[in-house]
């Protein structure tokens, strides 16, 4: 293409996407983006997946992004198209998922006139995105699109909106390719400061009760970061716990893994966090779901925090050693510095620490009691455990997505993730309705893999229309519903904190999920008792189509362990199966805790 050759704005959009290596976009057409859909029609390089609601387009792009490490791309129209996408954008913002969302806009001369399907998209999405753009000049379009991809994927990843007025899409201009020069103002630090690394190694070498606490930043940094994390944990002999977003960053079967920490984390992980004298946080953000009551969070430890986002450091928890950098580079530097430092770690103290941890482990905090009789009610934990075991028998590569609630926490507790990018869940925003579209995105990216949405009967209804998308593209996503006829986590909080007044948490008038699946051209299965469970799981896995498996589970099962809001790690509530006298006083929920969510 010569410098003077011009393209339409819509052609520039597709050209830029192609140059960014985009092979699939998730979208929904409308008046303002028709020029792009027209250009899409005339090419084959980029595949368009037609969703049934714009929120689902963003979650699908998140699922695609999280399972591949690439940027997910969304295309929606102006007004309601853009506003419907907002939940997905905030979800991606909270969980640091790279997404570029192209939104249509009314022509520039109508902006501000309350035109048909006009919304102030850049205004609405400003706090919902990492950054956004309104393109007013077709000659700037190419540059802005490339910048949008750069911003979405670099530093702490996140969603970026590019708002495209229709006249800019129709107008002709010169396409500017990938920029050769770095961004004028946005240049995140990726290489850690060697002095901070040295200080961290000094703290860790002198630790008697260390712990590594790793989060989603390790996953975002790429699979090499997970490999280096495993190497570092093995090198040091330290225990390792993962956040909800970090599951898979460290192999769950490894003896040094303590499981997930936080509100529904394991007894051993939370008590080790509470009792440690040195903590290495890498790529996690001291979220309130992890820390519990801040002033009693890990009171006697020296804290090291490595994060690519300087604003995450010292936000909730004051740390003693701050490392700004990309997790891969931080871990590589820590490994090198650990090996170079002549100080011998206190192996005796570490052995004693492991002895203590093993004692906590022996509480077996995830224990549940499944009645073994064939007519027994299925315990939700058991359903996930059997699903996990049967899937493992098949040896297939599996991606797990979830909706939000009890089933999500049980999935996090009972699924053993050995590799990164296999676990897709809405952590920060807690978006019910995330799992089905995210599974769709993961299945598009990995057509041969097994993709399962572990769902609740309430959450699944929030984006159930995407069953239609599954049918259109023959995506064999498996929806595994733990159906307890309640918004289970709401019911649990009402039982524990609101005197058992189950206000509006009963899932009344549910559809017949078997018939629902069939009406969407899928397969519906149901397990009513324990005797049905394994057969339903095996059949679900055998079918090469979209499946809804409706697993009728114990309606009153609660998710334990649980750190009530406003409580500290050592004030965990264990389940009814725990007979050992609780070491800590069982906490009443304080008034301070009641205002927390």
């Amino acid at each position: 293409m010569t410098a003077t050759e011009t393209l339409s704005g819509a052609e520039i959009v597709l050209r830029a996407l192609k140059d960014q290596g985009v092979d699939v976009i998730f979208g929904y057409p409308g008046g303002a983006v028709l020029p792009i859909y027209d250009a899409l029609f005339q090419q084959n390089a980029i595949r368009h997946i037609l969703v049934r609601h714009e929120q689902a387009a963003v979650h699908a792009a998140e699922g695609y992004a999280r399972s591949t490490g690439k940027v997910g791309v969304v295309l929606v129209t102006s007004g309601p198209g853009a506003t419907n996408a907002v939940t997905g954008l905030v979800d991606a913002l909270m969980d640091s998922i790279p997404v570029v969302c192209l939104t249509g806009q009314v022509p520039t001369h109508l902006i501000g006139n309350d035109a048909f399907q006009e919304a102030d998209t850049t205004g609405i999405t400003r706090p919902a995105t990492k950054h956004n753009y309104l393109v007013k000049d077709v000659n700037a379009l190419g540059r802005i699109l490339h910048e949008a991809f750069y911003v979405a994927r670099s530093g702490r990843p996140g969603p970026v909106v590019v708002d495209l007025p229709k006249d800019v899409l129709i107008g002709r201009g010169v396409y500017q390719g990938m920029p050769a020069t770095p961004h004028r103002s946005y240049r995140p630090v990726v290489d850690p400061d060697p002095q901070a690394i040295a200080q961290a190694v000094r703290i860790l070498k002198n630790a008697k009760r260390p712990i590594v606490y790793a989060g989603g930043g390790v996953i975002n940094s790429g699979p090499e970061a997970s490999r280096l994390l495993t190497e570092f944990v093995h090198l040091t002999g330290f225990p390792c716990t993962n956040t909800l977003m970090g599951l898979g960053a460290f192999p769950a079967s490894d003896p040094q893994f303590l499981g997930m920490l936080g509100m529904h984390g394991t007894y051993e992980a939370n008590l080790a966090m509470h009792g440690c004298d040195a903590m290495l946080n890498i790529g996690a953000r001291f979220d309130d779901r992890v820390t519990g009551r801040l002033r009693d969070f890990s009171p006697n430890s020296l804290k090291i925090h490595a994060d690519i986002d300087p604003s995450s450091i010292n936000k909730n928890v004051r740390v003693d050693c701050a490392i700004v950098g990309d997790a891969t580079r931080v871990l590589a530097a820590l490994i090198a510095a650990w090996k170079a430092d002549p100080t011998k770690p206190d192996t005796g103290a570490l052995a004693a620490w492991w002895k203590q941890i093993d004692l906590w482990r022996s509480r077996d905090c995830l224990r549940y009691r499944q009645d073994a009789s064939p007519k027994a009610v299925i315990k939700p934990q058991h359903a996930i455990k059997r699903l996990y075991e049967i899937v493992r028998e098949t040896g297939r590569d599996v991606f797990i997505t979830t909706e939000v609630g009890q089933h999500q926490m049980w999935a996090a507790q009972f699924w053993k993730f050995e590799r990164p990018n296999r676990w897709l869940t809405s952590g920060g925003l807690g978006t019910m309705g995330y799992g089905l579209p995210a599974a769709m995105g993961a299945q598009i990216a990995h057509p041969e893999a097994l993709v399962i949405d572990i769902a609740g009967e309430a959450s699944i209804l929030m984006n159930i229309q995407e069953m239609s998308t599954l049918a259109q593209y023959r995506l064999p996503v498996k929806v595994f519903i733990l159906n307890n006829e309640y918004m289970g986590m709401v019911r649990q909080w009402q039982e524990l904190l609101h005197g058992g007044r189950y206000s509006e948490s009963y899932s009344a008038a549910l559809p017949d999920f078997v018939k629902l699946a069939e009406s969407f051209h899928g397969v519906g299965l149901r397990a009513k008792t324990l005797a049905d469970l394994d057969d339903v799981i095996r059949e679900m896995l055998a079918v090469d189509r979209a499946v809804i498996a409706d697993i009728c589970v114990d309606k009153h099962e609660n998710c334990f362990p649980m750190i009530p809001s406003g409580a500290a790690h050592n004030e965990m509530i264990l389940g009814p199966e725990d007979e050992a006298p609780s070491g800590a006083a069982q906490p009443g929920v304080t008034e301070e805790g009641m205002v927390l969510v």
């Binding site: 850049t122 205004g123 400003r126 706090p127 990492k130 950054h131 956004n132 309104l134 911003v151 530093g155 702490r156 004028r184 103002s185 946005y186 000094r202 703290i203 002198n206 004298d277 801040l294 002033r295 009693d296 969070f297 009171p299 006697n300 430890s301 020296l302 804290k303 986002d309 300087p310 604003s311 450091i313 010292n314 936000k315 004051r318 740390v319 003693d320 050693c321």
Partner: protein, 178 residues
């Protein structure tokens, strides 16, 4: 060896004068203000104007207050906005000069009018508009000087005040982008 920081943190608040160099582009001020309102930070005053046409830069001066941890957060949050080039906390980075400009309208006659003029002279306020029954004074200075002047004008027929809020710059040869 380091000692673990106590979980109970310093809760005393301080004022900070923060200078922010930003791309001069649409929406940048909304991003900064939205950040403050969205995260519940205080804005005591805020000024903005282009400072470099060639490089397309504007400078925002924000006066805010909070605990040391909150002010550190504010700076980090500002710094990660994409169009932000540089964030400097002038309050902690050495001595700085902070000035405000105010336009103060005073109406009156007789002895009060003469008194207003006399005080304005003492404060080195300039008369930039005069009618037989009013003055507009222009005054630059530190915030407390303007506060003092405005207080003195109140009984002498103060009509209204328009103030810029603080603009600030570090003393010495270095710029914030240097």
């Amino acid at each position: 060896m380091l000692k673990a920081l106590s979980p109970s943190q310093d809760t005393s608040t301080r004022q900070a004068v923060i200078a922010v160099l930003v791309e001069n582009e649409a929406g940048v001020l909304a991003r900064v203000i939205g950040l403050f309102s969205g995260r519940g930070y205080n804005i005591d005053s805020l000024t903005v104007a282009p400072v470099d046409d060639e490089k397309q830069l504007s400078r925002i001066t924000i006066v805010t207050s909070g605990t040391a941890m909150v002010i550190e957060q504010i700076k980090a949050q500002l710094d990660r906005l994409v169009p932000v080039h540089k964030v400097a906390d002038l309050t902690v980075e050495g001595p700085h000069i902070a000035r405000e400009l105010a336009l103060i309208k005073v109406a009156g006659a007789g002895e009060k009018r003469v008194e207003a003029l006399r005080i304005a002279d003492a404060f080195r306020a300039r008369v930039v508009d005069a009618t037989t029954e009013s003055f507009v004074f222009e005054m630059t200075g530190a915030t407390d000087k303007i506060d003092a002047f405005v207080a003195l004008m109140r009984p002498l027929g103060l009509v209204e005040v328009s103030r810029t809020g603080i603009v600030a710059i570090a003393r010495g040869p270095k710029g914030i982008d240097g």
